[in-house]
Symmetry: C2
Subunit: 137 residues, 2 copies
């Protein structure tokens, strides 16, 4: 571990219909209707889900574990762009963020409407979505 590195642990795992990066939509909102996914929160952290049933939308933070290295400049629809001006997964810290809708919660399992993550993606955090915090004013 480098002296200035930051260490996180998976709190859960995403079960999705996508077996590889090629299968997954480029963003969650591009997933087909009906392609729901399940977030499994590990038993150790499951008590943290209390009251999540009162929330409609969550911000899911996950580790893009299949992303291999990074490029500071990346080719996209708009030509060669700086990586921080894109949503490319090949970033210095491969963190993915999606705002998703909760369909149901059963114990440690949260069913969500759609997500762009590959099956087996480690989950880092779940936050309630609030328009005041997560929207543009």
């Amino acid at each position: 571990m480098k002296s200035n590195s930051i260490e996180y642990i998976p709190i859960g795992v995403i079960h999705s219909p996508y077996r590889s990066e090629g299968d997954a939509p480029r963003q969650s909102f591009l997933a087909e209707d009906g392609e729901s996914a399940v977030i499994e929160i590990f038993k150790k952290f499951c008590d943290g889900l209390k009251d999540l049933d009162k929330i409609n939308h969550i911000v899911v933070v996950y580790h893009l574990h299949l992303s291999d290295g990074y490029s500071l400049k990346t080719i996209g629809n708009n030509g060669l762009r700086g990586v921080f001006a894109t949503r490319s997964p090949r970033r210095p810290n491969p963190i993915g963020i999606s705002v998703v809708k909760i369909l149901s919660i059963d114990g440690c399992f949260i069913t969500i409407d759609k997500i762009d993550a590959v099956d087996g993606t480690p989950v880092l955090d779940i936050k309630p979505f609030y328009e005041e915090i997560d929207g543009v004013r």
Copy 2:
């Protein structure tokens, strides 16, 4: 390092008016007008900022380095809640997320309108905000 841990590195640091957690607003949108902040991206990653001047709002992902441990249940305005149903900083992985407005960019320094982060907070990622990805549909 534990076998299943995930390691990230700071790509920059936030310079803000807040010297301690007590000084900082509880959320970015609660900051006073005029309390702008500066995100310094380290030289090594600065090329990744290309084209960010074409973006109005960014999602800033940062490490809540002063957060000490976590509680799965936390007391807030709504009583005792599961941590994942709150925005408490005392989370298993103390990751902060704010959507902020870019005021100007000068080399490796991004001036933003407001943020809830304490001065010296390590930055993990910067993403362009897109309503389709980051908003609620």
